[in-house]
């Protein structure tokens, strides 16, 4: 009797131990695979955020260890600093210029490329190629040659052929021509990338919709087919592209840094400072890490806020047809 009961219970316990062993072995294997990533994320994302927050409520000048507690003073100072507010205005202005132009250019490129059969790959490559160029090299080309303020700059040369006077592109006084330089360089660099996303979106549109429209008398490639079929069906792609573009514009640094800074244009970088250039100055110019961290949190909050707001207004995932 005893033995009869004992045997299954022993078996069950052994099976339980085996299962436990197997679970633990699986967990260990999982750790081996996923552990490096998790450790890295903790080390270089979570701890920095926590430490950064701790710094942002302390005094920390020229040191990365928090000194005396200051509460939200850094945040208050930041929000009252006219230079910070101005950097946000610069971002707003830049967004106003770059988002619509990028949208139109990349959509236009995608429609044109999608429309051709011969040499389609060639044209796609041409427009996509600038994506590989760095902002530094593009800024160099733009500042030193393409939009050089001297008469030997390429655009000034073109203006001369057209019988116009050369323009001082990077000036502090007079019309803010530097916006043309800043907007065109980014337009050249990023349009190809957004064109690819639009192309992917265009391919998702079922051909049957166009065929139905043609049966109803619409002409292929006409404004009506674009307005009533293509564009509405690209709604989600459009929302996504605008969002990516706004976030990228908010984090603009390289072209402002390279084009506006430097000999002869020393004060121009102060005329149009992006939020990141401003933060760079606070943290690595003044070595005020406490204030810099506070600024980083304010910027992060703004980006997340903009993302959520845009989602509310335009609604990613909402269908519009």
């Amino acid at each position: 009797m005893n033995a009869q009961i004992a045997i299954p219970s022993v078996q069950k316990r052994a099976a339980g131990r085996r299962r436990l062993q197997r679970t633990w072995r699986t967990n260990l294997t999982f750790l081996l695979f996923v552990g490096p990533l998790v450790a890295g994320l903790v080390m270089f994302t979570y701890i920095p955020i926590a430490w950064g927050f701790w710094l942002s409520i302390h005094q920390a000048r020229a040191t990365i260890t928090p000194q005396e507690f200051v509460g939200l003073a850094h945040y208050a100072w930041m929000l009252k600093d006219p230079a910070f507010i101005k950097s946000l205005t610069t971002f707003g202005l830049f967004t106003l210029f770059i988002v619509p132009t990028t949208y139109c250019v990349s959509l236009g490129l995608a429609l044109l490329v999608n429309n051709v059969r011969f040499a389609q790959g060639f044209f796609r490559s041409v427009f996509f190629l600038p994506t590989a160029c760095s902002y530094v090299i593009a800024s160099l080309i733009w500042k030193m040659s393409l939009f050089n303020s001297m008469p030997y700059g390429f655009v000034n040369m073109v203006l001369y052929w057209l019988g116009l006077d050369p323009v001082v592109w990077l000036n502090i006084v007079g019309p803010p021509w530097y916006w043309v330089v800043l907007v065109t360089v980014r337009l050249w660099l990023q349009s190809g990338f957004y064109m690819l996303i639009f192309l992917a979106g265009l391919q998702e549109i079922p051909r049957a919709l166009y065929e139905a429209a043609f049966v109803d008398g619409a002409k292929p490639g006409s404004w009506a087919t674009f307005r009533h079929i293509t564009w509405p069906l690209l709604y989600n792609v459009s929302v996504y592209i605008v969002l990516l573009n706004v976030i990228a514009a908010f984090q603009a640094f390289d072209e402002f840094w390279n084009i506006l800074r430097g000999a002869g244009t020393t004060s121009l970088v102060n005329v149009a400072r992006t939020p990141l250039i401003y933060l760079y100055g606070v943290a690595f110019g003044d070595l005020n890490y406490g204030r810099g961290s506070a600024g980083a949190f304010i910027l992060a909050a703004i980006i997340i806020g903009v993302t959520i707001a845009q989602n509310r207004v335009m609604g990613l995932g909402k269908s519009h047809y």
């Binding site: 294997t29 695979f33 710094l55 427009f127 760095s134 090299i137 030193m144 040659s145 840094w257």
Partner: protein, 308 residues
């Protein structure tokens, strides 16, 4: 597999055979002509835009192969400054005032190790999350998704603080290591492995391989498409990045090529030909990657674009 399918799926509308046969003689010529004129509004703007998009590259190489006097010539634009001055390149490479050659070496080191390390970490984690049944899976996924909400460029100050704490300022590790942990790459790998045919893996388990063996001998060798795509994107991104190396490695011997060029742009004395020749050399590796791996890049950017 899924990736490669996505590469070249531009819709090729087949020319309707019926119409071509129907059209004959003069009327056929007319329809053919009409069909061609219909393409004019597409090809003409495409050619003009092509020229516009190519001008900056043309200027880069023209200036890199010209003399200073030719570049600053105000009388007319020299389209092709002959003879081409290839010695600008060697002069740019041997200059030490910005150490271009050393900065190229630094950039190569950083980019290659970022690609190798980043891909290994992301594919390991992606495979683990896709295939190993573990109750921590959702927790890890959640942890990852939260970091995706945080805009990358904004965390550079807090991350710098930690890197400084580790004593990694002006060290290669400081530039490379914080960038190795890509949530985004992990998610792409996970998606790729979820679609991976599990029969191959089961065969491996039958033969007595563990998860690690299956991953190393069977899964990884069959992930070439996504590895090349993400690798090319990672390489270009690291080669071209400016802000992080600028912040974390300000010492001259640690400069990447972008930091060196960026310093050159704002120098008091500028030697235009050497500057442009240096930029031409700096863009060369990226152009090579681009030309040879373009289809993978397109696929990768589409994936990142669509999933991101």
């Amino acid at each position: 597999m899924g990736l490669q399918n996505r590469v070249d799926t531009m819709p090729v509308t087949s020319p309707e055979p019926g119409r071509a046969q129907r059209a004959s003689g003069a009327s056929g010529l007319r329809t053919a002509w009409r069909r061609h004129t219909r393409l004019v509004p597409t090809y003409v703007p495409l050619f003009i835009l092509t020229i516009f998009f190519a001008i900056p590259f043309y200027i880069l190489f023209r200036n890199g192969l010209a003399t200073h006097a030719q570049i600053v010539n105000v009388d007319r634009w020299l389209w092709l400054p002959l003879p081409l001055r290839f010695d600008n390149i060697s002069r740019s490479l041997t200059s030490t005032s910005p150490p271009i050659t050393n900065s190229l070496k630094n950039s190569a080191f950083i980019s290659i190790w970022s690609v190798v390390g980043g891909l290994l970490i992301a594919s390991l984690a992606g495979y683990g999350l896709a295939r190993i049944p573990c109750r921590w899976r959702n927790g890890v996924l959640y942890l990852m998704l939260v970091t995706m909400m945080i805009p990358g460029a904004v965390t550079f100050i807090p991350t710098y603080v930690i890197v400084a704490r580790l004593g990694w300022v002006n060290k290669m590790a400081g530039i490379i290591v914080p960038g190795l942990f890509s949530v985004f790459g992990t998610i792409l790998f996970r998606q790729f492995y979820l679609d991976f045919p599990s029969e191959i893996e089961e065969a491996g388990f039958m033969d007595g391989l563990g998860y690690l063996g299956v991953y190393w001998y069977l899964v990884l060798p069959n992930s070439a498409a996504i590895i090349v795509s993400l690798g090319a994107i990672t390489f270009i991104g690291n080669w071209n990045s400016l802000l992080w190396p600028l912040v974390v490695a300000p010492a001259k011997e640690m400069w990447t090529v972008q930091v060196a060029l960026s310093t050159l742009i704002t120098d008091q004395v500028i030697h235009l030909p050497e500057l442009f020749a240096g930029a031409g050399v700096a863009i060369f590796p990226v152009l090579i990657v681009f030309l040879f791996l373009q289809r993978y890049l397109v696929a990768g950017y589409k994936l990142t674009g669509v999933t991101g």
